[in-house]
Symmetry: C2
Subunit: 380 residues, 2 copies
């Protein structure tokens, strides 16, 4: 390395058809994402300064990877236009996928990153060592406030670290936000034993004009964190919550993120969940685990883990939270593979058991039996 990069570099996987070559498409992307005018318009100096630069085009199986670098000035140092420069108009073009994103420090420094990070979230739940954490989801939507609070108490007694609202719980009449948060927070506080702290993260996702009040309500009831779905609210809304200074950790949920491995278009999951969600302030990033309901390959999960924990400017590392059909019985196996800097999120599979508390306790014990701080995954 010859010093930190000064430009934003995006790598696009191009699947060219019978039309223009990959090199021609790369040049078109470099123009589309920046000046978006015919060659020469605006003058040579401006074109030289702000037109995207095609740094490389290299063949891969079934296509090409084109690295294009951009002047950070184009972004106005705001997150919406970081997204615009990296994947704005070309997101409307078939056969162009964003597969890598390198943000210069000038842009990373303008973004909050995780306020708590892995260590801060461990502090919240009084984790005594660099051990993996266990989180569970309050669900299903449609349960009333009392039933949800009773379920939360069960989970807290069983010793989970974090209880999150299902991302589908909003402000439905069956469990309105304010009543739900008050009742669940009270139940969790009453159920926890003294040596250990269980945290409740209510879902504050909702219309943007309700956000401040929901954050204040969560904070007022002693919650140490919240659940937020940045693809439903806009990624910059999460950034504004993280930058806003409230002492609330953020667990980001991927609903509506429109990202999955192997597609011809879109943002690759490791870029979206591993880099962008962390830069935008997520302390915990929920993603789809392998072998669950969605058939993501384990390599994608490991790439997300590596980016959430690896170097990113001066930002703290964030907890990966693999989820989505993780079976409680497999918890230990997953945590041994992913390492202790992992928060396993178990949703519905516990609820199908006859004795939810006992099943949850077994899950917690399995997770605690994983050696703390052992594997090398954290130094990725």
């Amino acid at each position: 390395m010859t010093g930190a990069p000064r430009r934003l570099t995006a790598t696009y996987r191009i699947r060219a058809g019978s039309g223009p070559s990959a090199e021609e498409i790369a040049l078109a992307i470099a123009r589309e994402q920046t000046l978006e005018v015919p060659a020469g318009v605006g003058g040579a100096a401006l074109q030289a300064r702000l037109l995207g630069r095609v740094e490389s085009v290299r063949p891969i199986e079934g296509g090409h990877d084109a690295a294009i670098s951009y002047d950070p000035e184009l972004t106005g140092t705001g997150l919406p236009h970081i997204l615009n420069v990296a994947y704005g108009n070309v997101s409307l073009m078939n056969g162009v996928r964003l597969v890598a994103l390198d943000l210069p420090n000038a842009l990373l420094d303008a973004l909050p990153g995780p306020r708590f990070g892995i260590d801060g979230v461990r502090d919240i739940v009084s984790a005594d060592a660099a051990r993996p954490l266990v989180s569970v989801a309050l669900k299903p939507v449609g349960l009333g406030v009392e039933a949800l609070a009773a379920l939360a108490a069960t989970y807290a007694r069983a010793g989970v670290d974090v209880i999150k609202d299902d991302h589908g719980l909003v402000d439905q009449p069956s469990a309105p936000f304010r009543e739900r948060v008050a009742a669940v927070a009270r139940a969790v506080a009453a159920a926890g034993d003294s040596g250990r702290r269980c945290a409740y993260f209510p879902n504050v996702t909702g219309p943007v004009d309700t956000l401040e009040e929901r954050l204040a309500t969560a904070q007022g009831h002693g919650c140490a964190g919240v659940l937020l779905c940045p693809a439903l609210t806009g990624l910059d809304v999460m950034r504004s919550v993280a930058a806003g200074g409230r002492p609330l950790a953020i667990m980001a949920h991927p609903a509506h993120a429109q990202s999955a491995p192997g597609r011809r278009e879109g943002i690759a999951p490791e870029v979206l969940f591993g880099t962008l969600y962390r830069a935008a302030g997520a302390d915990v990033v929920v993603y789809v685990n392998a072998r669950g309901r969605f058939s993501w390959p384990v390599e994608t999960c490991e790439e997300i883990n590596a980016r959430l924990r690896g170097p990113l400017g001066r930002m703290r590392p964030a907890f990966p939270a693999p989820a989505g059909g993780v079976e409680a019985d497999d918890a230990r196996e997953w945590l041994e593979r992913y390492g202790p800097d992992t928060m396993l999120l178990i949703g519905g599979s516990l609820l199908a058991r006859d004795d939810v508390e006992r099943a949850t306790r077994a899950l917690v014990e399995a997770a605690r039996s994983v050696a703390p701080g052992a594997p090398a995954a954290t130094s990725a």
Copy 2:
């Protein structure tokens, strides 16, 4: 029709591989998007009430279309969770595309829709008849405030209806937001002749905490509308602007919308731009025209047009604004095809001409020569 639908119905195009059948995938989607727990959890009554209902699964070429209906209660009547129910977790699953969306009046009534609509935008620019409108883009990013203001004056003298900022113009040092809006608004007001009004729509897209100030600045300088990129800010941010009561029309730009015809995943353009952008409050919806830089088929454009103009609860129709490499010379042909309820958006092609004002005037005259109120497209 036997009365207005009471449920939200989403239709998914399923490309099943060698695994589960389309019927099995449809049932999995109905569960994933709602209760997200194993069968039976929460009790039979709750499952019967809130589990998605597979209404039909019919074979199409290369796959199946599955219509699934949902209880509107799941959405909490907020736009973020309308997106979540229609295309939340399944957006992370390969081979599942959202191709149709029917919103019941209970949800449409909770959304603003266009505040001005086609008639209101015509009033803004004093259009004397049901004629097509012409809009142009101020660009490229990197030009200074004076150069942008001079270009805007040229366009205004040539008689365009709407001048919009390029969506890449934010608050860069080359043309900071406040100075740009002040100078361009002044130049446009000074250049317009008395019988005709040219409107300037500055780009207010940016970090969510800057939005109110930018809207106030635009309004303070007499702007009648703004440009906003809802995929960069979050769709609900546009909804909140439309519902906020400022007398500013909204032109929605598709940057980062990640939608295009023919994909296996994502939201079909006619659903996203035709239904959701309109419901969320866009008065004008910019989309990618056929034969431009992005190779969208004209049928997609016509479907977007039909949905922006057709019935949608009690909402006003919105102007379609085909754009993206439209050649000025083809303006008349496009407007004859799309009908008078169209705002043609010409970007860079005018700027490559030797005499921009003359080329723009020719464009305006070509558009004015299209018979007003003629084709039947408006009654789609």
